[in-house]
């Protein structure tokens, strides 16, 4: 047996006001939407119709705030009034006209939102299609309504809604609040919107939207756009870029931020759908790399998802995004060609975003790569300058590795790029694909290849040091070596490449893992293989190491080596595992003890 469930209008209104709508103020958005739909419908029948909206704030006889909202749109017949307002979900956009894309909104649902701020809604409407009659509809929050038909002569074509403020909703009828909300939701509407208050009548929307006007020169257009952006976002911008895409029917402007945005801040764009505000937090209209701009755009055909914060990921959106991204890209290319100084200023602010675009776009990459900045062992430098001085292009892939070897590299006169920051590895590794450039990814092990070897007699001096160090460092899976390198102040360098670093992390994790995971991690590690050993490279140029090579007491030598090992780890920002922490603790105490008592009266060095 089929049953029909009942809808509780009071419950629906509560749902709308407390859960679905973000604020009671949306009743104005819904009224505006209904008004705009009605004007468009009338314009469809009469192209010469201009359309306007009027809001009047006043008081009822018993002193309650009142709003009269009037549009000169198509109006409703009595039959339409019953149909759209008696059945929730029925919309004036249905039927034949539903096929056209220029009607939006759900008239009945929209009007229902007024119950959030008013106990009763009175609507007087006169249809342009049957103007001989006007209809007065009076609806109450308990779901009952009355309809009265009267002669149309004294009623203008269009619809007027009368709202009497319910207790507790007074702030939503205040002139300043109403003006703010109308400006927010309908600020771009191409119809004049007047607000009438006790102080008089004023137009509240800005019909001077720059992209709807034509200008005599580009500089005029630029000034108008910049001025518009300043007013809309209440901030100054570095520059602006007009946006236009046939696909998605998007027009608007992108504003380049005058500061480096915090990478954590989500870039939100102000998006209007058919000139009504859709969202101030739209996040998928532009490519992900375009985080250096904030946009204001109007679209006529993109489909918003239910949350209204983004659009459906369909083919139209994809093509629109490409077109808008293309406009930003073209702007950057124009700067590269015609205004390099301005480009430099922009890069100083937004190099991350420009790097992200360069990765994404091969042609743009070729044009821009040489002016992009990188951190190098010789300071910040553009790729062009670096390429002019060094070949091959040597780079490291992590900030930690760079910290470990930058000082040593610059002492050797080697130029190394720190590619540990976002996008830099990808940018460098793309070089040989687009131009005749040799690149070389290096790590501290590779760097040590350039260190000077010891002379044969020097080598025999350090034989004992290496032998003791190999044994002392064996539990830490580290081998020892002695070479000469700069700076001389550095006694030892911990040499590790990506492979050994990974193995070291793996071993450290295994140490603290339960049996299950110790087995699994063990499978990943080819444990015990000397090729994965890290190396501690002592610097024979360093006076301490020369002295150490002459220490005969093996205990002293062993302790000193272990301490140098721990120090090299700390210098390289490597986390210490439990064994290394123990080495640090016991070694330090041993050295203090030795310093106080000495191995014998003659001191350590023989």
């Amino acid at each position: 047996m089929e049953h029909k469930f009942q809808i509780n209008l009071g419950g629906i209104i509560d749902l709308l006001s407390n859960h679905l709508y973000s604020s009671p103020g949306v009743y104005l958005r819904e009224l505006l939407q209904n008004g705009v739909d009605a004007i468009r419908a009338r314009q469809h029948k009469d192209a010469s119709h201009v359309g306007s909206i009027r809001l009047e704030l006043g008081m009822t006889d018993d002193g309650q705030p009142r709003l009269v909202f009037q549009d000169d749109g198509i109006g409703l017949t009595e039959e339409e009034t019953h149909r759209f307002l008696a059945t929730i979900g029925e919309s004036s956009k249905r039927g034949v006209e539903a096929q056209r894309a220029d009607f939006i909104g759900q008239f009945g649902i929209g009007l229902l939102s007024c119950f959030i701020v008013s106990e009763e809604i009175v609507m007087v409407t006169r249809s342009a299609t049957s103007p001989e009659f006007a209809v007065e509809w009076k609806g109450r929050a308990d779901g009952t309504y009355t309809v009265v038909t009267k002669p149309g002569d004294s009623v203008p074509i269009g619809t007027t809604v009368f709202l009497r403020c319910k207790k507790g909703s007074e702030e939503w009828f205040e002139a300043s609040r109403v003006e703010e909300l109308v400006r927010k939701f309908g600020g771009l509407l191409p119809y004049q919107i007047d607000l009438v208050t006790i102080e008089g009548t004023r137009q509240v929307n800005d019909q001077d939207v720059p992209w709807r006007k034509s200008y005599e020169s580009r500089s005029q257009e630029w000034s108008a756009l910049m001025d518009f952006g300043r007013r809309m976002f209440n901030q100054d911008f570095f520059d602006c870029i007009p946006l236009h895409s046939e696909i998605g029917q998007v027009t608007g402007a992108a504003y380049i931020l005058s500061y480096s945005p915090n990478p954590t801040a989500k870039r939100a764009h102000r998006v209007y759908l058919k000139n009504m505000l859709l969202s101030e937090e739209s996040d998928n209209l532009l490519p992900s790399w375009a985080f250096f701009v904030t946009c204001v755009v109007n679209t006529n055909t993109l489909r918003p998802v239910a949350s209204r914060e983004s659009f459906y990921e369909d083919e139209t959106l994809q093509q629109t995004r490409e077109a808008l991204g293309g406009a930003l890209r073209d702007y950057l290319i124009r700067l590269r060609k015609h205004d390099p100084e301005r480009l430099q200023a922009l890069i100083a602010l937004h190099y991350r975003a420009i790097k992200a675009l360069a990765i994404h776009d091969d042609d743009f990459y070729q044009i821009i790569i040489d002016v992009l900045p990188f951190e190098t062992s010789l300071g910040r430098m553009s790729m062009g300058d670096f390429r002019a001085r060094y070949s091959p292009i040597r780079y490291v892939t992590s900030v930690d590795t760079f910290r470990q070897i930058a000082q040593v590299a610059s002492s050797q006169g080697l130029g190394i790029i720190n590619a540990g920051y976002s996008f830099d590895v990808d940018l460098i590794e793309k070089l040989p694909l687009v131009m005749d450039v040799e690149i070389e990814r290096i790590d501290s092990v590779d760097l040590a290849e350039n260190f000077e070897e010891l002379m044969p007699d020097e080598r025999s001096d350090v034989f004992e040091l290496i032998a003791v160090a190999d044994v002392a460092l064996q539990p830490s899976k580290c081998a020892a070596d002695v070479k000469k390198f700069k700076p001389v102040e550095l006694p030892a360098l911990f040499l590790v490449n990506e492979e050994t670093k990974f193995m070291r992390n793996l071993e450290n994790t295994r140490e603290v893992s339960n049996d299950h995971w110790a087995t699994i991690l063990g499978s990943l590690a080819e444990t015990g293989s000397p090729k994965h050993y890290a190396r501690l490279c002592f610097n024979f140029e360093n006076p301490l190491i020369r002295k150490l090579s002459r220490v005969e007491d093996r205990k002293v030598l062993r302790t000193a080596i272990q301490m140098l090992y721990v120090q090299a780890l700390l210098m390289g920002h490597h986390p210490l595992n439990a064994n290394e922490m123990a080495l640090l603790n016991t070694g330090l105490l041993d050295l203090i003890d030795l310093a106080i008592t000495g191995p014998d009266e003659g001191g350590w060095v023989q």
Partner: protein, 370 residues
């Protein structure tokens, strides 16, 4: 100061795209470890887990998860496996959620035995049952693991049936991911029409997340083309590739796009993508991802003109090739040998010839003859 730096690093992650989150998350973990602050290290590792899973470094995800699970096993009160409130709300990643990611990634490592993979899945099930949450995600992982290990189709079907009859709760994958799962399973059954229809419904429903529809579109490009929907496949390729091209976690989907360009007769386009993404394959430790790339590279090399320079980055230089600039003939031979060697290792691990069979089918579909 260090704690502030860690907080700053963790905060910075949310504004970065994958895979750029990995380095700061690792730094946060290192700093927390050096500080000896276990709570902070626990928190930072969850961020690293997420960053590594979605940033294409699954080996780091495994290590991180090993640490987290071990901590939780040792001191479950201080480090609880579940952070769901009343089984209803879950605002952050926890261990129970992490099992899903780890379960999916384990089979990608040929070094990890079938027994160890199954043991992690068993522990996942035990943990889910212990916390009285739905096994729906477990069955999704189980179905995919059966596929990865070359198990009989009946095992996969059984897991999918169990998935369908389990309820959704806070640990269920997002709606977009579940749509993608349905598409995957339809493709596995060879029902391309149904897979395309499901993908349409997914898009019409506005469902998307960090990986969907990226991987969905990519998985459909070749099957759609082969089923006669060439224009549809081109559209999927155009959109899917753009979504995947910036994150090395999408190495396998990228291979689908390269394959597509090959069968669509665009060898230069396929070669361009092969070169562009070769560094991802060079760097990955996940042997399945590497094998998948090598299969595609073999197909590109096979169809390459004889005088062409394959031009892969020098770091990708195959070990064992004497010449510094291998000829295309040398590349073909090396790639074929490497593909067969790795596939053989997978077969040995899985205890069945499923991967070699898959490789053979792939080669046939791309007209790669011996």
């Amino acid at each position: 100061m260090t704690q502030e730096r860690i907080a700053e690093l963790l905060e910075s992650l949310h504004g970065l795209e994958y895979p750029n989150q990995i380095a700061p998350a690792e730094e946060a973990v290192h700093l927390a470890d050096r500080l000896g602050d276990e709570e902070l290290a626990w928190k930072a590792r969850f961020e690293l887990l997420t960053a590594a899973v979605f940033g294409g470094e699954p080996e780091k995800a495994l290590m991180t998860f090993a640490w987290l699970e071990s901590k939780s096993t040792h001191d479950p009160e201080r480090f609880p496996a579940s952070k769901a409130v009343l089984g209803l709300f879950l605002s952050q990643t926890d261990l129970l959620w992490g099992y899903k990611w780890i379960g999916l990634n384990l089979p990608d490592f040929v070094e990890i035995s079938r027994q160890d993979i199954e043991s992690v899945l068993d522990r996942m099930r035990v943990q889910y049952e212990r916390h009285q949450v739905s096994l729906r995600p477990y069955w999704a992982v189980q179905a995919r693991t059966h596929r990865s290990l070359g198990d009989p189709a009946s095992d996969i079907r059984e897991a999918v049936t169990a998935f369908n009859t389990s309820t959704r709760d806070v640990y269920a994958d997002c709606v977009a991911c579940e749509w993608n799962f349905r598409v995957e399973m339809a493709l596995l059954e060879g029902d391309v029409d149904r897979a395309l229809g499901l993908a349409d419904k997914m898009v019409d429903g506005g469902h998307s997340c960090a990986e969907v529809p990226h991987i969905t579109f990519s998985s459909l490009v070749v099957p759609a083309w082969q089923a006669g929907f060439q224009d549809r496949a081109r559209g999927l390729h155009q959109r899917g590739y753009e979504m995947c091209r910036g994150n090395k976690d999408f190495l396998v989907p990228i291979c689908d796009h390269i394959d597509f360009r090959l069968i669509d007769g665009d060898w230069p386009g396929a070669h361009l993508l092969l070169q562009r993404h070769a560094v991802w394959a060079r760097d990955t430790r996940a042997s399945w991802r590497r094998l998948r790339f090598l299969q595609t590279a073999l197909a590109v090399a096979h169809h390459a003109p004889d005088n062409v320079d394959l031009g892969l980055p020098s770091q990708f230089q195959p070990v064992g090739l004497a010449a510094s600039n291998p000829t295309i003939v040398e590349w073909r031979a090396w790639l074929r040998a490497e593909v067969m060697r790795l596939a053989g290792r997978f077969d040995e691990r899985n205890g069945n010839p499923s991967i070699s069979n898959e490789v053979r089918k792939h080669q046939e579909s791309l007209n790669v003859t011996a």
